[in-house]
């Protein structure tokens, strides 16, 4: 969900941010993450999960996740001035539907929402890591 938002609602829609380094940062993080994650799913479905894939899935995130979040936040931040200037996706009063929406404020709130959400997800993954990789001595999942 946040992928779609970052891709379409921010990067695609605000052309000026497309040359930012932060875009490279989150694209790289997402790419590596997804390659590992979907290999993990594929091999799991085939009941042939090489340990290295499992290990990578539950280890790489430690770096990739903060990297991706940093790229995302920086990108949104870079988009802010353009959104404010052009009133992108925003609706002002008066209008016949008696409705308004300020995309600029919405983006700021989105950035703030990372504060509670990121630690929750990150620590959840760390707990999963301990659970999944913790018992490697007991059994091997290969074959």
């Amino acid at each position: 969900m946040s992928r779609v938002f970052l891709t379409w609602a921010v990067t695609h829609s605000v052309i000026e941010v497309q040359s930012e380094d932060s875009v490279l940062l989150f694209v790289m993080a997402w790419t590596v993450t997804e390659i590992i994650r979907y290999s993990f799913y594929t091999f799991s479905l085939l009941n042939h999960l090489p340990y290295v894939i499992k290990w990578a899935r539950y280890t790489f995130f430690i770096v990739l996740y903060p990297m991706g979040v940093t790229g995302e936040l920086l990108t949104i931040y870079a988009a802010l001035p353009y959104v404010q200037k052009t009133g992108l996706f925003s609706v002002t009063l008066p209008n016949k539907y008696n409705f308004s929406f300020d995309y600029y404020t919405f983006l700021i709130l989105t950035m703030l929402s990372y504060i509670p959400l990121f630690p929750q997800l990150y620590f959840h993954m760390l707990r999963q890591r301990k659970k999944v990789l913790g018992h490697t001595q007991d059994y091997s999942k290969v074959e």
Partner: protein, 333 residues
Amino acid sequence: MEHTPYNKLCVEILDAKTKDKLCFLDKVGTRPDAPRLFPAFLARHPQFYPARQSIRLDPKGKSLKDEDVLQHLPVGTTATFYFRDLGAQISWVTVFLTEYAGPLVIYLMFYFRVPFIYAPKYDFTTSKHWVVHLACMCHSFHYVKRLLETLFVHRFSHGTMPLRNIFKGPGPRNCCLQLSVTCAAVFQNCTYYWGFAAWMAYYINHPLYTPPIYGEQQVKLALIIFLFCQIGNFSIHIALRNLRPPGSKTRKIPYPTKNPFTWIFLLVSCPNYTYELGSWLGFTLMTQCLPVAFFTMVGFIQMTVWAKGKHRSYLKEFRDYPTLRSPILPFVL
């Protein structure tokens, strides 16, 4: 099965989770009350007032009801019960009053343009559009009606609910919420009612509010729909109340009465929700405000879920339940 003579009964009460012995009662009193009224248990654990007690024969089983009589339960000479604390309890009446007083007050704050909402030059001014005044009256009427109904009309089948639920939301009047939810869930329901009230009120009472396109015609039609559904909703509540004699917990199939507004029972299981939807559609039409439309839609979805559940439980409970009825919208839903 031979029942043990009552006055030879010993009762032990264990904690459902830890199996610690909480209480042992020798020669239980002569009144064949349900376990939850054991005065000895209450004396030893005064914080667990009766509404908070969930006492059961099996640690994971269902709670015994107030009506259950000790003599008729399948126990031997020593009856073992398991106790579960339902958490701090609050009466349903208090829950609903809090839920409904919020939107009433909040809307009025926007209507009177209390400072810090709109630009300072508009503080304490009033809108020049008469539909805005009408909308305020309708909205306020709706919530005052709900408050009065909660106090004087509704009969609740379960006296209290866990305190944590006050923020989450109680759902239909006669559903029993026994298992407590976390504090986070508590926050949800009041936030819903109060949040939406603020969002709607902001736009309707805004200095830049645009009145309905079709003007007086639209507003008059909307008002008729709104009032019709308010009366309808009230009629249903009265009819449902009259189904259940005071103090009883019996459930019966509701049927149309002499009041024409109840004839919708022929087609719908939960016409109170149908009328509620109608009221808010009327209000949406009256104010021509998108946030109101959103609120109506979200409410409709939630009420449909409740109506379907109620409809299903009616079907399960009554063999002869009328087949023509739909949960909330005649023939459709």
